[in-house]
């Protein structure tokens, strides 16, 4: 009897499994299409890949949280993802008072979700507070709170510590979204505020069911054009496969960040469109100069010459473009690599370079990566190619936070990671390559020429000269090869075929207020 029950349960489980796999659009949940007869769909459901920490712009530094924040808050300016231009948001216009100071004229018709009016006071509060928050310190660092000046209720001047041409790009970063002074003070603590966010955005916060979903509702008082959908639900579905299946079954309308295998599956789906756009992400392999062999430029170049990067990065990531440098083509300061810096696979040349550097017999290397399938595959392919030139590579796949810990301490020899520029400016690469900054310390990289060029570019107000410095930097870095650039990533979304208007943000932060039904 008992065993019969067991078999029955097993069969039931199999049936469930099969029906989950083969859900065709006709059989899909009808409520996802229309609720009742004739009633229009008024809820948009998003599949997020992790649970946000807090919904407080300067106190988080993760895509899943920032993604929710850009729905709830507005910044002074925003980047138009179609043209790449910086366009007005809460500030209607701005001008440089001098090289250190920008004056912003704010909208006078904006209310926070708690009913209070948005004024220059809130902007000052946002920047004063941001300067004390560690998660986004990099973004607030160039600004000087002492120089912030409220001119009148709807005019404010923001000062920078030094000449800083990248200031406006920095203001498009989600860390600088404007928070309500009265709401933050009323909440008592940052932690409490992070669970009760109050912004000026098109959607306002309603509820947060931990580990499951965040519920937002259209802000009827919104200063801009009202979104079509009344409710916006952001669900946390951590597993890649489950998230893709939820999209296919109509349980969620939009999801993002899939493994290559899932993208293939979604491309064949009849109910989902797969949309991709170039991103600010460069997948790379960091080479730590603290490990003796890697401190030699010739060894680093040899590692690059040993591999057919186009092919293996295509296998691992399945989308995007082969990388020809650290800066992605989505950034305006990108220049393509010259003829002499193409690094086609050339095993003989790699061996020769190794021999010149004194490692004719090769050396041992530890290559770490996190548990992402794409990176594990890539690591195995790199190790396989490096074995050919005598570099005996041990692959270590580890839990992401453990890997980051090792990298942050400068203890990794070689590691696979992705770098996301925080905005459309070469300045965001400074932290990765200029000695004394975090990212450069991870690989113990210190090149006086590189250091100087970053300093020059950072303070140059002349756009043309500035672009020249970044061109020079890219040529130099391509020769120096402190990273092996692997692939420029594409951001990939899956969106229900009934919807359109997805804002293709190179950092994933699509504003869902633009979504409309077809």
């Amino acid at each position: 009897m008992k065993s019969h029950l067991r078999i029955l349960a097993l069969m039931l489980a199999m049936v469930l499994l099969l029906s989950a796999c083969g859900g065709s659009p006709q059989e899909g949940d009808p409520s996802a299409e229309n609720t009742g007869d004739g009633e229009v769909k008024d809820t948009l459901v998003i599949g997020n890949y992790a649970e946000p920490t807090v919904l407080d712009p300067p106190n988080q530094n993760m895509v899943p949280a920032a993604l929710v924040n850009v729905q709830i808050y507005d910044g002074l300016v925003r980047q138009d993802n179609e043209t790449g231009e910086i366009v007005p948001s809460l500030a209607t216009s701005w001008e440089y008072v001098d090289d250190y100071t920008i004056r912003f004229h704010l909208r006078d018709d904006v209310y926070f979700h708690d009913g209070s009016k948005m004024t220059a006071e809130d902007v000052k509060f946002t920047f004063d507070r941001g300067a004390t928050c560690s998660q986004k310190s990099m973004i607030f660092e160039p600004f000087d709170p002492a120089k912030t000046r409220i001119v009148d209720e709807y005019t404010i001047e923001l000062g920078t510590k030094d000449v800083f041409p990248a200031a406006l790009s920095y203001l498009t970063n989600n860390g600088t979204l404007i928070v309500s002074k009265s709401a933050v003070e009323a909440a008592g603590s940052d932690d409490a505020y992070g669970r009760q966010p109050v912004g000026t955005g098109a959607y306002k916060f309603v509820d947060w069911i931990a580990g499951d979903r965040i519920i937002l509702e259209r802000n009827e008082e919104y200063w801009g054009e009202l979104p079509e959908f009344k409710n916006l639900i952001i669900r946390t579905i951590a597993d890649d496969t489950t998230r893709a299946l939820a999209l296919e079954s109509g349980e969620v309308d939009i999801a993002y960040n899939f493994a290559p295998a899932q993208v293939d599956m979604l491309k064949n789906s009849e109910v989902v469109d797969v949309v991709s756009a170039p991103s600010y992400t460069t997948n790379y392999c960091g080479l730590n100069s603290a490990y003796e062999p890697l401190s030699d430029k010739r060894v680093r170049q040899a590692l690059r010459y040993a591999v057919d990067m186009d092919t293996i990065s295509e296998i691992a990531f399945a989308s995007g473009l082969p990388a020809d440098g650290p800066v992605t083509p989505a950034l305006s300061c990108y220049v393509p690599a010259g003829e002499d810096q193409q690094y086609e696979q050339d095993v003989e040349k790699a061996k020769q370079l190794l021999a010149e550097a004194g490692y004719a017999d090769g050396f041992d290397l530890i290559l770490s990566c996190n548990e992402s399938q794409a990176r594990i595959s890539l690591a195995q392919m790199l190790a396989n190619a490096w074995k050919e030139i005598g570099v005996n590579t041990e692959v270590r796949s580890m839990e992401f936070s453990a890997q980051l810990n090792e990298i942050y301490n400068g203890e990794s020899q070689a590691f696979l990671l992705g770098f996301v520029a925080g905005g459309n400016d070469g300045e965001f690469y400074r932290a990765m390559f200029q000695a004394g900054n975090d990212g450069a310390d991870w690989i113990n990289y210190d090149n006086p020429e590189v250091n100087e060029l970053f300093d020059l570019a950072s303070k140059e107000m002349d756009a043309e000269l500035r672009a020249g410095y970044y061109t020079e930097l890219q040529t130099l870095l391509r020769d120096e090869m402190p990273w092996l650039w692997v692939r420029f990533a594409d951001n990939i979304w899956g969106i229900s075929k009934d919807l359109t208007g997805l804002d293709l943000d190179p950092e994933w932060y699509s504003e869902y207020r633009f979504i409309t039904s077809k």
């Binding site: 890649d240 296998i315 548990e371 594990i376 396989n384 580890m398």
Partner: protein, 302 residues
């Protein structure tokens, strides 16, 4: 090792006349040979041992021979189990993987046999306080589920084959010492032990020469089943990324890389074969272990 000895004894037994008194080992081997399921298990184990000893003879390729022009080939004559996402021959990887899985299973079993045997027999022979202390410590360890214990140890020590073996050994020791203790307690008060003690045999001699050999039955059964347990634990740990690192063709490790293709039905071979190998191995070891248990069980004697 034991199995070969048994085979020999088995043959010897057949040569001898039936009515002659037979030793307990020959008896066990004889009864085992009558158990078809157990023999079937043994045959599979022997094939796997051959795989593990001479993988080059069976595999057509190296375990990490990547060929990006031949990825995702469905099973065919040249690649009996197909190729994976990096163009590696899955059959070759599975064959090389036998070596890793079997050695992890065997070595961790032998280590825990040594440690658990020592603790168990000390505790059984000495009794009293040391028995209590050792067994209570074992209780503490046994209150933590074995796999969970292995996960925590692996997470603390880091990945790698040695750490994997250490983790599995530690997880196996407590229950092993229990088994050994119980087995020795059953023979401890027999007359021949008393006799040996009477003529002044040392404690070590008592344990090693008299108690252990006579209590060996249940211990061997336990050990065989633990090899299977060790293999599944190793595969599970590698599956969650705590065991051996890629490109090592450990079965669990192969599975974890294959799991992203679980929704693509046309790539079924990537997921299925490593899983099937784990299943076959554990199944064979369990069949053999069960057969051994029946063979040792005096109640099934007729």
């Amino acid at each position: 090792m034991h199995t070969e000895a048994m085979e020999r004894l088995n043959k010897k037994k057949k040569n001898k006349s039936q009515d002659k008194a037979v030793g307990v080992w020959a008896e066990v081997a004889y009864r085992l040979s009558r158990n078809r399921a157990a023999v079937f298990g043994l045959v599979i184990i022997l094939i796997l041992v051959l795989f593990a000893l001479f993988p080059q003879a069976f595999a057509g390729y190296g375990y990490d021979d990547q060929d990006y022009s031949r990825i995702f080939i469905a099973p065919c004559a040249e690649h009996p189990m197909g190729t994976d996402d990096l163009g590696r021959d899955i059959f070759s990887r599975v064959v090389y993987g036998t070596r890793i899985s079997l050695s992890v299973g065997l070595i961790s079993m032998l280590c825990s046999l040594l440690l658990g045997g020592l603790l168990g027999s000390l505790s059984a022979v000495n009794g009293g306080v040391s028995d209590n202390v050792i067994m209570r410590i074992c209780d503490v360890f046994m209150s933590i589920p074995g796999t969970l214990l292995a996960i925590s140890i692996c997470a603390a020590l880091g990945t790698g084959m040695t750490n994997l073996i250490i983790a599995i050994t530690i997880a196996l020791v407590p229950s092993f010492s229990r088994t050994v203790r119980a087995a020795i307690l059953t023979v401890k008060d027999q007359e021949y032990i008393e006799a040996a003690r009477a003529i002044g045999a040392s404690k070590a001699r008592l344990i090693l020469r008299h108690m252990f050999p006579n209590a060996l039955g249940p211990i061997i059964v336990r050990a065989t089943l633990d090899v299977a347990g060790g293999i599944t634990t190793a595969a599970a740990l590698s599956f969650i990324g705590l065991g051996v690192a890629p490109p090592t063709p450990e079965w669990g490790c192969m599975l974890t890389q294959a799991k992203q293709y679980i929704t693509s039905l046309d790539k079924w071979y990537i997921v299925v074969f490593p899983g099937v190998m784990i299943m076959i191995t554990v199944f064979a070891l369990n069949l053999f272990g069960d057969g051994l248990r029946d063979a040792f069980d005096p109640r099934s004697k007729n």
